[in-house]
């Protein structure tokens, strides 16, 4: 194991980097869409409960695990987990903490490159005078997409400029990572996070004060109608498991827990430095960006011009690129340009601070275990990301992109978080764990969190995992009752298409790889699963080799 000379330059830098890790595209695009799709204000209460009972405990646990591993020379999850238990299995569980990041980076860097391109397009006023259809067609042409996912071979995407932008974004990430934590990641966070907040505040003020746009024949074309729908509290949502699942899922994504990035960043914190206040500060900064800024931009602006019904039916990730530039156009050339640069600029900053964090666990692992230098580690990381990313670009509409997102960006997080909370609370032990969380703390951590971390958080996460695994069709409370009734009377289960088991086994679908001699969407999906599995196995083999190397070194040292 090589000695690491990495470290954070300042405490503020660490917190901004950690907050940047958490603040991502999802704060501005996923959160408002999830809220809209789950009953608007109905979503906020389960979201906050999940934050208090699962989000904050996981932040403390991951920071504590990271610092615990880091002071023993481990800066990536396989050996951080391994340092907390004598069982060999844990280092292989820790593989998730590198694998997840590689998988997500592959498609996330591609989206990040769209935001970079669209910032430049906004600056060049490329959207001026365009209709909504033209803005939408421009994106389709840029990303080479056809708008539908079919088995037809014509859907293979070769978007020239999008690939160039992706390569530029990837090289930029690799270059920053090669500069190290204090020389690269921290410097970027110190510039990107304040700018992101300034851009966000500017857009939020514009959106909230938009009011009625007076579009003929549209009675709900008023930004207040969007805010009203998003924030109207509905207490009956508390009995709906679907809303709880969506809210808890959003907390996972938004805080970047269950990924391994927090462990890795925290592994460079010194033995007696605070982690409790740092974790809270970074976590709440993310909540500010999500709840105050994220909830106040896309939905009010979109409802202001398109109406509430349109937004309810069409709210989604692509709205950022296919609709927002057209909506900004309604504000006149100067404000449209400023808003476009602010919007795509903040998305780019949100993206790059997260992608840099996702690159760090792999670098920490190979630097520790194989003694590679920063530049070599960063370049190899870049090559791996390129290999993993190209299928998501070329076969974007063949389901490869969504497969990566589902398995690495959704399922892996829950699996890893379930494992780490059990390791921390039950295997490592809550007494030792509590000491780790509170050592050097600059705030008093409420004692009842000891109980929450030991009992409530594991039950919470395992419930999410179990319900995601076997989710019945539609997932409402009545659907669960019907599902159990069907199980006991007919011996079958009405799987929801997005339940983990239905996805894994392609239930509710015909398993066909070739149709009229051409590979189907299912073929591409299965091939992307194979590629992801090989990536996981490859990382597990590297961890095995590293562990063997460690044992050999330990024997020699004893002699």
């Amino acid at each position: 194991m090589a000695q690491s000379n990495e470290g954070w330059g300042s405490r503020v830098g660490l917190i901004l980097a950690m907050a940047g890790n958490a603040v991502g595209l999802g704060n501005f695009l996923r959160f408002p869409v999830q809220a809209i799709q789950n009953g608007g204000g109905a979503f906020i209460i389960p979201y906050f409960v999940s934050f208090l009972l699962m989000g904050i405990p996981l932040l403390w646990v991951e920071w504590a695990m990271g610092r615990f591993g880091g002071i023993r020379g481990n800066h990536s999850t396989p050996f951080i987990l391994s340092s907390m238990s004598k069982k060999r299995l844990w280092k292989y569980v820790g593989v998730f903490g590198i694998f997840t990041n590689l998988g997500i980076l592959a498609y996330y860097t591609y989206i990040e490159s769209w935001t970079l391109t669209y910032t430049l397009k906004s600056l060049a006023q490329s959207f001026t005078g365009m209709s909504r259809g033209q803005v939408s067609a421009m994106f389709d042409s840029y990303a080479g997409v056809h708008g539908t996912m079919t088995d037809a071979l014509v859907n293979i995407n070769v978007p020239g400029w999008a690939i160039v932008a992706f390569l530029v974004t990837l090289v930029l990430n690799i270059w920053i990572l090669s500069k190290g934590l204090s020389g690269g990641v921290e410097k970027v966070a110190k510039i990107a996070m304040p700018l992101l907040i300034v851009f966000g505040v500017f857009l939020a003020i514009r959106a909230v004060t938009l009011g009625s746009t007076g579009i003929a024949g549209c009675s709900t074309c008023n930004s207040s109608a969007g805010l009203d729908f998003l924030w109207k509290p509905k207490l009956n949502s508390l009995s709906n498991p679907k809303v709880w699942l969506a809210a808890a899922g959003q907390i996972f994504f938004t805080l970047s827990v269950g990924m391994g990035t927090i462990h890795c960043y925290a592994a460079y914190v010194k033995k007696n430095d605070d982690i409790a206040l740092n974790a809270m500060s970074a976590g709440w900064m993310n909540e500010f960006v999500e709840i105050v800024l994220g909830a106040s931009i896309v939905i009010p602006i979109a409802v202001g011009y398109m109406g509430l019904d349109w937004v309810k039916d069409n709210a989604g990730f692509m709205m950022a690129f296919k609709t927002m530039p057209f909506l900004f156009n309604q504000w006149g050339a100067v404000l449209a340009t400023l808003s476009g640069v602010a919007w795509f600029g903040l998305l780019f900053f949100a993206g790059i601070t997260s992608s840099l964090a996702m690159g760090t666990p792999f670098m920490g692992f190979v630097e520790d275990e194989f003694g590679w230098g920063r530049i070599k580690s960063a370049v190899i990381l870049g090559v791996i990301i390129l290999v993993l990313a190209l299928p998501t670009i070329f076969f974007f509409e063949m389901g490869v992109f969504s497969e990566y997102d589902y398995w690495t960006g959704t399922v892996s997080l829950v699996i890893f978080a379930s494992a780490e909370i059990i390791l921390f609370s039950w295997v490592f032990g809550m007494d030792k764990g509590w000491k780790e969380i509170t050592r050097g703390s600059d705030i008093r951590v409420p004692d009842f969190y000891k109980f929450i971390i030991k009992w409530v958080t594991p039950v919470f996460i395992l419930t999410i995992f179990f319900t995601s695994l076997v989710k019945p069709l539609h997932g409402e409370m009545s659907d669960w009752q019907l599902a159990f009734h069907q199980l006991f009377t007919r011996g079958s289960w009405p799987w929801a298409n997005d339940s983990i088991i239905a996805q894994a086994l392609h239930l509710n679908q015909k398993w066909i790889w070739f149709k009229t001699g051409h590979p189907t969407v299912m073929f591409y999906k299965d091939m992307s699963r194979l590629l992801l599995t090989l990536t996981f196995v490859g990382l597990a083999v590297l961890v095995h080799i590293a562990a063997k190397k460690r044992r050999k070194t330990a024997k020699i040292t004893k002699l």
Binding site: R11, S224, L227, P233, D273, N278, W284, D442
Partner: protein
């Protein structure tokens, strides 16, 4: 916009903003807050 909803929104967003600022200021005032991370506690 419904008054009840407006109050709820302003209350939630204010609480989140105040907590965020409070924690960040606390970090700045704590040891190693605004300066280098050189000295260990």
């Amino acid at each position: 916009m419904n008054t009840e909803t407006l109050i709820f929104m302003v209350a939630v967003q204010s609480v989140v903003t105040i907590i965020t600022i409070y924690l960040f200021v606390k970090v700045l005032k704590a040891p190693g807050g605004s300066g280098d991370n050189g000295e260990e506690k």
